[in-house]
């Protein structure tokens, strides 16, 4: 078990014994990751914040059901992804629809200066164009860097399905990036790949 997983296991135990400060430590350790996943799944900052809040409420209300056989982080990711799916279903958001120009909530402080250091708007738009199931796999495996087994557990699908979705998702992502940037940019990227 990784160091983070060991620390999480101890904190969960302490929280279940009534130590609220342990809950705060857990949340602080994971809030950015959960938010990042929600934002990439929902592509709307407000919705992502809502989903992040819901995720932690769910996890900590149901923490007594966490038996510790998997890593807390894996369980947390699963709740986050399912919460995002819930949001999408509840509000019927069209996650693949491109946003109006100049109004990209993913890049709240929109401007050319932020392209190189913050989120890449073209990447975020391309991710949003993926089918939800492929997007979840690519976000968790490639963007968050989770192992395929962890992704499989988080998504509740076999490892083979994760591999397939990651492969297909990357393919669609590259095609979407090519469409967003035009032929000359695509050629220069392929030259650098």
């Amino acid at each position: 078990m990784s160091d983070r997983a060991e620390v999480d296991a101890v904190l969960i135990e302490r929280y279940l014994r009534g130590e609220m400060e342990a809950f705060e430590q857990l949340m602080r350790a994971h809030e950015d990751r959960v938010f990042a996943v929600c934002l990439r799944m929902l592509r709307d900052r407000e919705a992502a914040l809502d989903a992040t809040q819901e995720t932690f409420i769910t996890v900590f209300r149901k923490a007594d059901r966490f038996a510790g056989r998997s890593a807390f982080g894996t369980w947390l990711y699963r709740v986050a992804v399912n919460t995002c799916y819930d949001h999408a279903r509840r509000f019927r958001r069209h996650l693949a629809e491109p946003l109006p120009e100049g109004n990209d909530p993913v890049d709240a402080a929109a401007g050319d200066a932020f392209d190189s250091i913050e989120l890449r708007p073209d990447l975020e738009a391309a991710l949003a164009a993926l089918p939800a199931e492929f997007r979840a796999a690519v976000v968790l495996a490639d963007v968050e860097g989770l192992g395929l087994q962890t992704v499989a557990e988080a998504l509740g699908v076999p490892v083979g399905t994760v591999k397939s979705r990651v492969f297909r998702g990357r393919r669609l992502l590259a095609e979407a990036l090519g469409n967003l940037r035009g032929p000359s940019d695509t050629q220069s990227d392929e030259g650098n790949a």
Binding site: S2, R4, Q53, Y85, E118, G145, G160, T161, F167, A193
Partner: protein, 282 residues
């Protein structure tokens, strides 16, 4: 389409193959335009992801989030704002306020695929080989490898999502959820194919059963890709397992109506926990 194992192509793009194997594979792929294009796409996607930043909470968002959660859980938040937030936070207003601040964003180190799946025995695996578990969790920042289905109590989670995704208007039964990750027997699959072939001969029944898909329909992405259309209907087909000790299996059946309205169209069935291997209905 090309003849190369997608998993090997992915591993080559990730840079996780041994040098000799990578070199040999690259040389073979170079002679296959379709495979070369696929490899380029894998690399382009990974390159884009590796140069992307990672979104982070703004300070005001973070403070408000913590306070809202603490309030909902009935806890005292040490860093809550002076005014206690309402149950549903007006995140829109918070986001506007946060965007007016200077955002200092650090690049999150992208672990990427160089450290994931590093010890995969890629040569022996196919995407459908659910029996093989990825061994390399050492570099995963969270978690360790576990048997599938262990500790994944979906009832503990907000939604009633099954092994993949809950549909908008048809919930999978808990029995189907608990079978997540269990490989279907060939006999089960043949039985399903036979049953659905009979159904296919009854276009009126198909018309009654079919419901519009939505973005949360399990295996929708795979069905859309294989059938070449997003204009699909679907229905659930609960099939008792051949082994009575096993829970019934609820298949997701996609129906692509015939373009000209004549004939039953195409049916494709998936077990919801295995979107890789569909059952084609003759």
């Amino acid at each position: 389409m090309h003849r190369f194992d997608p998993e090997l192509v992915a591993a080559l793009a990730e840079g996780t193959l041994e040098a000799a194997e990578a070199g040999a594979l690259e040389a073979q792929i170079a002679a296959d335009p379709a495979a070369l294009a696929d490899l380029a796409k894998q690399r382009a996607a990974l390159a884009a992801i590796r140069t992307a930043g990672s979104p982070r909470l703004e300070d005001l968002e973070r403070t408000t989030l913590r306070a809202a959660i603490a309030e909902q859980l009935g806890l005292a938040a040490a860093d809550s704002p002076a005014a206690a937030p309402t149950r549903r936070v007006a995140w829109g207003a918070i986001a506007v306020a946060a965007s007016a601040l200077v955002a200092i964003v650090a690049f999150a180190p992208v672990v990427g695929l160089l450290s994931t799946g590093g010890s995969d025995d890629a040569g022996d695996l196919t995407f459908g080989d659910d029996a093989t578990i990825v061994a390399d969790e050492a570099n995963a920042p969270l978690g360790a490898a576990l048997p599938p289905g262990d500790d994944m109590d979906t009832e503990a989670i907000t939604t009633t999502a099954p092994a993949t995704v809950a549909t908008g208007n048809n919930e999978f039964t808990p029995a189907a959820v608990e079978t997540g990750g269990v490989e279907r027997s060939a006999a089960d699959r043949l039985s399903v194919a036979d049953d659905l072939a009979l159904l296919k001969g009854d276009p009126e029944a198909l018309q009654v059963l079919g419901m519009p898909v939505d973005e949360t329909t399990a295996c929708l992405a795979e069905a859309t890709e294989l059938l070449g259309s997003a204009e699909l209907l679907f229905f659930e087909y609960p099939a008792p397992a051949e082994d009575p000790a096993r829970a019934p299996i609820v298949y997701v059946v996609f129906h692509l109506p015939a373009a000209d309205g004549a004939g039953p169209g195409t049916l494709l069935a998936f077990s919801p926990d295995d979107c890789v291997t569909p059952i084609a209905i003759p």
